[in-house]
């Protein structure tokens, strides 16, 4: 705070016709550089995970009743007796060859473990995200339009209450309740497993419903803001029918602000997915990583955290690309904040 120099105010309006470069080039270059940085950070974090175990990692991993000789052998097997840079080097070179290590517990290659489980997690998460977007955006918009300028107080109150309640219900609680109602009481849908298409319904709903409510509230608020903008008055001045007014003029703008704010929520749904898998005995990464943490099976934990991290990074990139398509101004902005 010592420096007196203030950040430059935005330079004057962008001079028309002065553009020489496609903004997508700079955008993609920056985002790819960012992605590379994130990858490096993820690799470093997963590598350090073992090093950061309090006390002597080898002793902690070998178990409390291991003898000194056993611990020493374990340490050597894991390479923990080598200097840190050498350990890191072999970890990275292993990753580059697609070698994520071998599970302590099952002796399976971690890459195979993840390859067998990732599709289930990805299926669940992606379906849930699509469901959230498909429901929350029209719902939030419709409520915002219906309650604009303080109309329909009851609908407003009902929407606020219902989304507040469901949005605050954790995915795993909702999952448990869904099982209770639809699987045990009504016997409509299977309670667990991934054997049939119908088994997908409850987990997807459990993951999607709370986020749908939260996003619908965001959409509703952003729509209310957009409806009050001057350009919406301009559009009304052109006396467009409601569909053109809302779909053409309001939607792109509110999607921009909604994605800016709701994008974080979409990546956070990965986390919800991981926990919900436990409710439904879903054969995804979630159940496996929990098992690995309980058993201190580090190669599996490292591999899973790395893969989940990459998944989140790709999701973030996808959201940024979507934002760029919706509003070219975000291409030159530095970040989504």
């Amino acid at each position: 705070m010592t420096a007196a120099v203030q950040e430059a105010p935005a330079p004057g309006p962008v001079k028309a016709g002065g553009r020489v470069r496609n903004p997508w080039i700079g955008f993609l270059l920056r985002r790819l550089a960012g992605l590379a940085g994130v990858l490096v950070a993820l690799v470093a974090v997963t590598f350090l995970m073992v090093q950061l175990i309090p006390g002597d990692p080898a002793r902690a991993l070998a178990g409390t009743d291991a003898t000194g000789a056993q611990v020493a052998r374990f340490r050597h097997e894991l390479g923990l007796d080598r200097p840190l840079p050498a350990q890191f080097g072999s970890y990275v070179s292993g990753l580059l060859h697609g070698d994520l290590g071998t599970s302590f517990q099952t002796r399976e290659p971690v890459a195979d473990v993840i390859a067998g489980r990732l599709p289930f997690t990805a299926e669940l998460a992606l379906l849930a995200i699509l469901l959230v977007l498909a429901v929350a955006v029209p719902l939030g918009m419709a409520v915002a339009v219906a309650t604009r300028g303080g109309r329909r107080r009851r609908l407003d109150a009902a929407f606020t209450f219902a989304t507040g309640l469901l949005g605050a219900t954790p995915e795993y609680v909702l999952g448990t309740l869904l099982v209770l109602v639809f699987a045990i009481t009504l016997r409509l849908l299977p309670a667990a497993g991934a054997s049939s298409l119908s088994a997908l319904v409850l987990p997807v709903v459990a993951v999607a419903l709370p986020s749908t409510c939260v996003l619908a509230r965001i959409v509703r608020r952003e729509t209310a803001v957009v409806l009050n903008q001057d350009y919406m008055r301009t559009a009304r001045g052109r006396r467009l029918p409601p569909l053109a007014l809302y779909a053409r003029h309001a939607l792109p703008n509110l999607l921009t602000s909604t994605l800016t704010m709701g994008g974080l929520m979409l990546t956070a749904m990965l986390g919800g997915t991981i926990i919900v898998e436990s409710v439904f005995a879903w054969p995804g990464l979630g159940g496996r990583v929990v098992q690995a943490i309980t058993n201190r099976d580090y190669p599996v934990i490292q591999g899973t955290v790395l893969v989940l991290g990459i998944l989140a990074a790709l999701l973030n990139l996808l959201i940024d690309v979507l934002l760029g398509l919706l509003d070219p101004r975000t291409l030159t902005a530095r970040s989504r904040s």
């Binding site: 010592t2 007196a4 120099v5 203030q6 430059a8 105010p9 330079p11 004057g12």
Partner: protein, 269 residues
Amino acid sequence: MTLPAEKAPAAGPAAGKLVAEHVTVVFGHGRRAHTVLDDVGLTVPEGTTVGLVGESGSGKSTLAKAMVGLVRPRSGRILLDGAEVSGLRGARLTAARRRIQLISQDPNSSLDPRMRIGRALAEAIDPRRADPRAHADQIAAGLEMVALEPDAARRHPHEFSGGQRQRIAIARALVARPEVVVADEITSALDCSVQAEVLNLLARLRAELRLTMLFISHDLAVVRHVSDSVAVMHRGAIVERGDIYAAPSHPYTRRLLASAPSLPPKETR
């Protein structure tokens, strides 16, 4: 109204109280670099008001910020009483800054919404402790200077109108006993009749306190009303100074004057 004698600049080489010398300000780096001020020179003689007119993006607000030390010039110097203030740091910068006060444009942003007026003025008097009780007399005097009641000290900014808030901002700048005041578009957010109040106040303070002031505005008539001499800024450079109203020489000044709509006469009978 007769013009006071101090209108004529004092003789000598360091004639200006506040002087900008070859000031260049660049924002951004590399390919995005953007020269906002290009070799600007401006002198504000002691006891006079210099008006600075220009349109948006001309760099006049940046010059104001550079003058008070909120923006660091890439090259050139700002001199106060002949001593450079632009390169100072730390305690000496703080000391120099109190001698030049800035009053800014937006009445909604110029006062801390959470702070009572009394405390805001106390902060201007004693920046460390900011105790309104210790300086009650000075605060009351400051408020009286801008024609506000002493009990205004107990209120929050949102209880005042835009014009009143600008007057409080003027009081805050003046109780710090600055040697120079830089006023950046202080009336442009105000309605015409409220603007008149603030302009009259400034006229009175100039006469009573022999204020040295740099008055910045986009409004030619307002600048003319307030200032002893006027400089015109265009695209980061001062294109003309002196008697721009009677005999404009630069084409941009002429265009500016021609563009200003002229007002109907006050009244005839």
